[in-house]
Symmetry: C2
Subunit: 204 residues, 2 copies
């Protein structure tokens, strides 16, 4: 959920244009310093459209989270020709990369600030529940395929998927809330060790 190509899908669509402006404003200002005016500043169409569609900053951001998830789910998993291990490692690289470019790092920090609203805001909590479900399901599908194909050891795919999701969410929050690198490289290296012994046949 880190690349921006999703916004190209329907650039002429008003909602997509608002979402693009929201992405840009979040990346530039973060959540705490975000105002609906700053989103409007990034919006090329009539600003009244934006005020017409949303009650305020949080209403808009919750729809932004919904939009991100829709596009994540719509993107076909085009990698079914790849073996399960390559798919799993590719997915981990997309959702918990060791190195992030500046824009992705800024956006990632803003997403964790949004997640920080979820403890006291049910609308945010609903969105992050769904974001987590979507990623967990994708992990579970790959693990299940690997077991069915006989390349992964027997395991409970749901439980492994929840654990992988937990490590990804740990990596994401640590990365943007610590002065050091958040331990991402060490955590990913140990995660690979776990996968090698827990899942991959013919390893260890």
């Amino acid at each position: 959920m880190g690349d921006t190509s999703r916004f190209a899908v329907a650039e002429d669509d008003t909602r997509a244009a608002i979402m693009r402006a929201t992405y840009d404003a979040l990346t530039s200002h973060g959540y705490a310093n975000l105002t609906i005016q700053r989103i409007a500043d990034e919006f090329e169409k009539s600003k009244s459209l934006l005020y017409h569609h949303y009650d305020g900053k949080d209403d808009l951001l919750v729809d932004f989270l919904r939009f991100m998830l829709e596009h994540w789910e719509a993107k076909a998993e085009c990698r079914e020709d790849q073996d399960p291990r390559t798919r799993l490692e590719g997915l981990l690289d997309r959702v918990a990369a060791v190195d992030l470019d500046e824009e992705t790092a800024a956006f990632t920090a803003a997403m964790e600030e949004l997640r920080g609203q979820a403890p006291h805001d049910a609308a945010y909590r609903e969105q992050f529940t769904e974001h987590d479900r979507a990623l967990r399901e994708r992990f579970a599908t790959i693990v299940e395929t690997g077991i069915d194909d006989g390349v992964f050891h027997e395991a409970d795919p749901e439980r492994v998927a929840e654990f992988l999701l937990t490590t990804v969410n740990g990596i994401r929050i640590q990365r943007v809330t610590r002065d050091d690198t958040g331990g991402v490289a060490a955590a990913r290296a140990e995660l690979d060790e776990y996968l090698a012994t827990r899942l991959y046949r013919g390893e260890a």
Copy 2:
């Protein structure tokens, strides 16, 4: 970092009394709805003392995080007579319990809201960097002891510790930002599986 006995250590001390009031206000109101007045409402001594010591809500909360860490570090690890596995599992039960009582759950949610300030606030970020360091060091010490005692397999204690910390932080953030149970039981079960194969000799 979940029990409240720490506040009893120096109850007559002004700072400890302010910290106790902050804990109570955070547990009752969370971060988003917290005001310095609400902390003052929980404070039995002169409210002017509180305003005298702190510039505002965030200044006070950053000192609260510092106070929490000082007490966590001061609490002697009185369990050196226990075997490393028991110590490790005991520590995980304290920092990432499957079930939380209502007060601890409310406090945990507030702590994650505070962590959500760290992406845009350097003072919070410094505190969470130190909180993570303290927990990582405690994990690393136990893992190192287990290896030295010959009861754990060879492993890089620092890397294992960072991975354990990452799963703990994943559990903590998921628990309070999802409508379901945050997958805590499943993640902990798979974490136990990891520990059994990765560390514990004579398992699997």
